[in-house]
C-alpha cells in the first residue's frame, strides 16, 4: 500500500509502509481489491478448518443428525447475522480498521482494554486449537507413513503444532496480500475435500446409521438439548467478530463485503460442521485426523490431512492478522516501533505454550467458545447500537484518530463507561441465562437462548447509559456538504469540489 505522493525520502516511505501494514490508514479505492468472490474464498478458507469439525462434534453431544443440522442452520444464521452488522458494514464503508471505529462506543482506552483482554485471549485460544489440530493431522500422517502408532495427544502432536505456528508466522509476516493469494487456491479445494470426506463417511457407515445415531451426552430435556445446540452455534457465528471488519475493509463494495461475509461463512461452516457432526455421531469422534486415513486409505487419507493441516495454517494467519492490527491500533505509541515480524511472532508465544497441553484444549473447547461468546456477543450488541442507532452510520475519521484530543469521541480517562456498562450487562445476562461451566440454565433460556438476547441487553443498556451519562452530547458529525467543504480551512483549494 504505497502513497502516490512523489519525492519521499526512504525513511519516510518506510514509515508510511509500516503504518499501512498496521492499518492506520483508511484504504482507498485502488487498495480495496477484493471482489465478492475473493472475499467469499477468504471466508470459505477461514471457515473450513478443523475447528468446524470440532463444533460439529460438540453439537453431536446434544442432538442427533437432523436436529443438529437444524441447530447449526439457525444458530449460525443468527450469530453471523448480528456479527456482520457489528463488524463488516462500518469497516467496509470507511476502509478503516475495525477497532479504530469502535472508539466511539468504548473510548480509546476502553477499546484497548477490550482488545488486550477479550479479543486477545479469544484469538490466542482459537490459534492454539488450530495449531494443535494441525499437529494432530501431522502426527497422523507421520503415523501412517512410518507405520508406528502415535499417541493422539503425544509429542508428535506438539511438534506438529509448533511447526504449524512457524508456518503461520511465515505467511503472516508477508502481509494480507499473501493471505488473499493463498485463499484463492486453498478455498475451493477445501470445499471439495470436505464434501469428499462426507461421502467417505457415509460410504463407510451408512445414511441410515447417520440419521438414527443418538446424541452422545444429552440432557434429559430434549428442548434444552436443542437450545444448547442452537446457542453453541450462535456463539460460533459471533466468534468471527474479532477478525471480520479488518478483512472486510479490503473489499471493493458493500455488496462484496456483507453477503460473502454472511453467506460465505454460513455455507462453508455448515458443510464442515455437518461432517464433524456426522463423524462424531457414527464414529464417536469428530476429528478427521483419526478416521480419514482408515476410510480413505493411506494415499488419499494422507493427502486430505495435509491439505487440512495447511487450511488450519491459513486460517490462523487470517485471524491473527486482524488481531495484530487491533493490538497495534489499540496500544497507541507503545508498540509503534516494534517491527511487524516481531509483533506477529510475539502473538504466538501463548499459543506455542498451550500447544504442550493438547488434551486440555480439546476438552475445554465448548466452555472456551461459550465463555468467549458471552463477551463477544455483548460487544456486538454495543457496536450495532452505537453505529446504527446512536451514530446513524455517520463516523468522523479525523475525530476517531484524534480520539482524546478531539471532541466527538473523547471521554474522561479515555473510557466510554456507557459502552463498558453495556458490555458487562450483556455478558452477565448471558452467563445468568446459560452458564457454560456449570451447565446451569434459566427456564427462559429454553425459549430465547442466550446470545441474541444478551446482545439486545448490551445494546439497550448502552443506549440508556449514553442518554444518562452523556446527556446533551453531540454524537454525530455534521453532514458534510460542498458548501461546508469550501468553508473548511483544513481543506486545500485543490481538494474542494
Amino acid at each position: 500500500m504505497r502513497s502516490t505522493t512523489p519525492s519521499r525520502s526512504e525513511s519516510a516511505q518506510h514509515e508510511l509502509d509500516r503504518e499501512s501494514a498496521y492499518g492506520t490508514f483508511p484504504l482507498l479505492k485502488e487498495e480495496r481489491t477484493w471482489s465478492g468472490w475473493d472475499f467469499t474464498w477468504v471466508n470459505t478458507a477461514l471457515a473450513i478448518a478443523t475447528w468446524a469439525f470440532l463444533v460439529g462434534g460438540s453439537t453431536a453431544l446434544m442432538v442427533g443428525f437432523q436436529q443438529g443440522v437444524a441447530a447449526m442452520i439457525i444458530g449460525n444464521a443468527i450469530g453471523l447475522g448480528f456479527m456482520v452488522l457489528a463488524s463488516v458494514v462500518a469497516s467496509q464503508r470507511y476502509g478503516s480498521e475495525q477497532y479504530t471505529l469502535l472508539r466511539g462506543a468504548f473510548g480509546v482506552v476502553g477499546v484497548g482494554i477490550l482488545v488486550f483482554t477479550v479479543i486477545l485471549v479469544t484469538e490466542m485460544g482459537w490459534s492454539s486449537l488450530l495449531a494443535i489440530m494441525a499437529g494432530r493431522a501431522a502426527s497422523q500422517v507421520a503415523s501412517t507413513v512410518t507405520g508406528v502408532e502415535l499417541d493422539q495427544y503425544g509429542p508428535t502432536v506438539v511438534i506438529g503444532a509448533l511447526l504449524a505456528i512457524g508456518l503461520s508466522w511465515f505467511i503472516l509476516s508477508r502481509g494480507p496480500v499473501t493471505i488473499g493469494k493463498f485463499n484463492k487456491w486453498i478455498a475451493p479445494g477445501l470445499a471439495v475435500i470436505t464434501l469428499i470426506m462426507f461421502v467417505f463417511l457415509v460410504m463407510n457407515t451408512s445414511w441410515g446409521t447417520l440419521m438414527d445415531a443418538p446424541p452422545l451426552a444429552p440432557f434429559d430435556d430434549e428442548t434444552l438439548n436443542f437450545m444448547v445446540a442452537v446457542e453453541f452455534n450462535v456463539g460460533v457465528g459471533v466468534s468471527w467478530y474479532p477478525v471480520m471488519g479488518s478483512l472486510a475493509r479490503m473489499t471493493v463494495s458493500r455488496k462484496a463485503a456483507v453477503w460473502p461475509a454472511y453467506g460465505g461463512l454460513l455455507l462453508a461452516t455448515l458443510i464442515a460442521q455437518v461432517v464433524g457432526m456426522g463423524a462424531a455421531l457414527t464414529l464417536g469422534d469428530s476429528d478427521p485426523t483419526l478416521w480419514m486415513v482408515p476410510f480413505g486409505g493411506p494415499i488419499l487419507g494422507v493427502a486430505v490431512l495435509v491439505f487440512i493441516a495447511f487450511a488450519n495454517i491459513t486460517s490462523m494467519s487470517s485471524i491473527i492478522y486482524s488481531t495484530i492490527l487491533a493490538i497495534r491500533q489499540s496500544s497507541g505509541r507503545l508498540l509503534a516501533r516494534i517491527p511487524w515480524k516481531v509483533l506477529t511472532a510475539s502473538f504466538f508465544v501463548l499459543p506455542a505454550i498451550l500447544s504442550f497441553f493438547p488434551q486440555f484444549m480439546y476438552e475445554q473447547f465448548m466452555v472456551f467458545v461459550s465463555v468467549s461468546g458471552a463477551f463477544l456477543t455483548a460487544v456486538c450488541g454495543v457496536a450495532v447500537a452505537d453505529y446504527f442507532l446512536l451514530r446513524r452510520q455517520r463516523m468522523d475519521l479525523r475525530e476517531l484518530h484524534l480520539a482524546q484530543h478531539g471532541q466527538l469521541y473523547a471521554y474522561p480517562g479515555g473510557i466510554n463507561w456507557a459502552g463498558i456498562l453495556g458490555l458487562l450487562a450483556g455478558a452477565t445476562f448471558y452467563l445468568w441465562l446459560y452458564n457454560p461451566i456449570s451447565l446451569e440454565t434459566q427456564p427462559l433460556f429454553s425459549v430465547i437462548t442466550a446470545s441474541f438476547p444478551a446482545a439486545v441487553v448490551a445494546g439497550v443498556v448502552y443506549l440508556l447509559a449514553t442518554a444518562l451519562i452523556h446527556r446533551g452530547r453531540v454524537h454525530r458529525p455534521e453532514p458534510r456538504t460542498r458548501t461546508s467543504a469550501a468553508a473548511d480551512p483544513s481543506i486545500s483549494k485543490e481538494n474542494q469540489a
Partner: protein, 86 residues
C-alpha cells in the same frame, strides 16, 4: 470532515487546547509524525470526497438493504425450523 469553530474547553474537562488551523497540526498533536499525519489527512479527505460524490462503496446501508438482510436471516432461520419439523 466537520468544519469546527473554536470551542473553549469547559472547566470540568480541563483540557489544554488551543485552536489549530491545519488538520495535520491536530494529528501531530496526537503524536503522529508529520509524514504519517499528511498521508492520513490526504486519505481521509479522499474518503470524504468520495462520500460527497455519492460513491456507492462509501455510502451507509440503506433501509431497504438492511431490511433485505434481516429478512434473509429470518428466512434462513425458518429453513432451520423446517428441517426440524419435516
Amino acid at each position: 470532515m466537520t468544519p469546527r469553530p473554536y470551542v473553549p474547553p469547559s472547566p470540568e474537562e480541563g483540557y489544554a487546547w488551543a485552536p489549530r488551523f491545519t488538520a495535520t497540526a491536530e494529528l501531530t498533536d496526537v503524536g503522529m509524525s508529520g509524514t504519517v499525519a499528511e498521508e492520513l489527512e490526504r486519505r481521509m479527505e479522499i474518503v470524504a470526497q468520495e462520500e460527497l460524490a455519492g460513491d456507492a462503496s462509501r455510502q451507509p446501508l440503506s433501509t431497504g438493504e438492511l431490511l433485505g438482510y434481516v429478512g434473509t436471516v429470518l428466512a434462513i432461520c425458518l429453513v432451520g425450523i423446517l428441517v426440524v419439523i419435516l
